[in-house]
């Protein structure tokens, strides 16, 4: 059984979006579009990740005429390492779930403590 990830699926989605181009600064609206998260969900996740030192944030240097400066984000080295590990774990867990669902009754037997029948 795969270990349970320390991140929620939404946080994993943000890590995945940021990890796609780890050296590039990205802005909130692009991340929201990529992850499908709303601003009220995305920004608390970014704040928590920044508090843990996994994401760094800065303001755009050069303002674009006609619109305010933008806040930009990218993964730190620690963030990239955490994201890689978490995504690998999530993939492994997903693969295990898929395999478990492919075996009818396997999940039920495991919960009841019954050994699986021997494969001839």
């Amino acid at each position: 059984m795969g270990s349970r990830s320390e991140f929620s699926p939404q946080t994993l989605a943000v890590l995945m979006a940021l990890g796609g181009q780890p050296s590039e600064w990205q802005h909130g609206y692009a991340l929201a579009r990529e992850t499908g998260l709303k601003s009220g969900t995305l920004y608390p996740i970014l704040i928590r990740l920044a508090d843990r030192g996994l994401v760094e944030a800065c303001w755009q240097d050069e303002p674009v005429p006609g619109r305010p400066r933008r806040h930009l984000y990218r993964l730190t080295a620690d963030g990239l390492a955490s994201a890689t590990t978490a995504l690998a774990e999530a993939e492994l867990a997903a693969a295990e779930r898929t395999a478990s669902m492919a075996r009818p009754g396997a999940d039920l037997r495991r919960r009841r403590g019954v050994a699986a029948p021997a494969v001839p």
């Binding site: 802005h27 709303k38 601003s39 969900t41 704040i47 944030a57 806040h71």
Partner: protein, 397 residues
């Protein structure tokens, strides 16, 4: 739609200032990004998320909830205490109620500016407890004042009233507005509240653990004192319906012991729990602060508990027949004797003021002494309190 969008944009820009400085960038970021969202519902939804972030990061839900709770409780207390038309000295009571509520609402804001907000849960609970006690005392005080001030129409009660209070017009309220008494109580309330706010503020080096220990000691002291003086305090003619014979003597001795030992023990425990700096002078100051805080808070909590419980019992005695039945259970007391006892109890309630002055003073002396005679527990990890502010003489508790 455009006007809704403009309103949310303006509201959001203003609300960003409510977010703490270290989180403000994030709130501003949401607002900056709103320009990227397509106009209409998507932009509105983006800004709504931003408002949610502001509410959460600004801890506004708790703040708004606290103010709402305060407003409701204060309204109920004022409604219960507001004097009716027959009371001749109603203006003084009304003034007292309004100023008390203004103190409760305004002093915490001033304390926040000068000394910082309360940082720990213990500090917040202690402040809430003291505010609740002050609010509870408003209707209690009003009920007792009305009872003492109303002249009986005739009979033995009138005679008792004349002896205890003095003559007055039957059926009316006695005396004029007692501005002097009201102002004295207001000054007293303001001092108490200011002391509690100062001891629980961030910049005061009293650890949260110290507050918890002191509140516990004060609670024990207050409950024992209530058992000794449940309906007013009178040293010459003490009245303890729940305690008889040796039990009463035991409780009186226990109360006297606790008056001095509860703050001393609280101070000793707080001083021992406190992880003090290596420097000897700073270590002494740190322990003294914990002893001072523990003693003052335990004495204050004890005094407030006995005052609220004792005054509350007296107010219920004069208002509710079932409380009278419970209080005088098993005793053959005539109606006039009951009136006399209630009248004296109502006057003896003022005796609690002595405790409210004396307990914190005794407490802080004993607390400092208690903290002074103990040495800190060896190898205690930081955790008994909060981290010190830089540059202040503060224990790492």
């Amino acid at each position: 739609m455009s006007w809704v969008s403009r309103i949310t944009a303006t509201a959001g820009r203003g609300a960003v200032r409510l977010v703490p400085a270290d989180r403000r960038d994030w709130a501003e970021a949401v607002w900056a990004e709103a320009h990227e969202a397509p106009a209409g519902w998507p932009r509105l939804a983006w800004r709504a998320g931003g408002l949610g972030l502001i509410v959460k990061e600004g801890q506004m839900a708790r703040t708004i909830g606290s103010w709402l709770l305060f407003a409701l409780t204060a309204g109920a207390a004022a409604w219960g205490a507001w004097p009716g038309s027959p009371v001749s000295h109603g203006a003084a009571i009304q003034g007292g109620i309004i100023i008390t509520l203004a103190l409760l609402a305004g002093l915490p804001l001033l304390a926040r500016l000068w000394l910082g907000p309360p940082e720990s849960r213990a500090a917040r609970w202690l402040r809430a407890g003291f505010s609740a006690a002050i609010l509870a005392l408003l209707p209690i005080q009003a009920a007792i004042g009305l009872f003492v001030g109303t002249v009986p129409r005739s009979g033995i009660n009138r005679h008792t009233f004349d002896i205890a209070i003095g003559s007055g017009i039957p059926g009316s309220s006695s005396g004029g507005p007692d501005w002097g008494g009201e102002i004295a109580i207001l000054i007293f309330t303001a001092c108490y509240l200011a002391a509690v706010l100062a001891l629980t503020a961030r910049r005061t080096p009293v650890a949260p653990a110290t507050l918890v220990i002191a509140a516990g000691a004060g609670l024990v002291l207050g409950i024992v004192m209530y058992a000794v003086a449940p309906a007013g305090l009178n040293f010459r003619y003490p009245y303890r319906p729940g305690l008889h014979g040796s039990a009463a003597e035991t409780f009186v001795i226990l109360a006297w012991i606790l008056v001095f030992s509860a703050p001393a023990i609280a101070g000793a425990i707080a001083g021992r729990r406190c992880h003090v700096p290596d420097d000897a002078v700073e270590a002494t100051a740190a322990r003294a602060w914990q002893g001072f805080g523990a003693g003052a808070v335990s004495g204050g909590v004890g005094a407030v508990v006995v005052t609220v419980l004792g005054s509350g019992t007296t107010a219920l005695l004069v208002k509710s027949a079932w409380v009278r039945d419970w209080f005088y259970h098993g005793q053959h007391v005539t109606a006039s004797a009951v009136y006399g006892r209630e009248l004296y109890a109502s006057q003896n309630v003022q005796g609690y003021l002595l405790l409210a002055v004396g307990f914190p003073i005794i407490g802080l002396i004993m607390g400092v002494l208690g903290a002074g005679v103990t040495s800190p527990a060896p190898g205690l990890p930081p955790g008994g309190g909060r981290q010190a502010d830089a540059g202040e003489l503060t224990p790492v508790c």
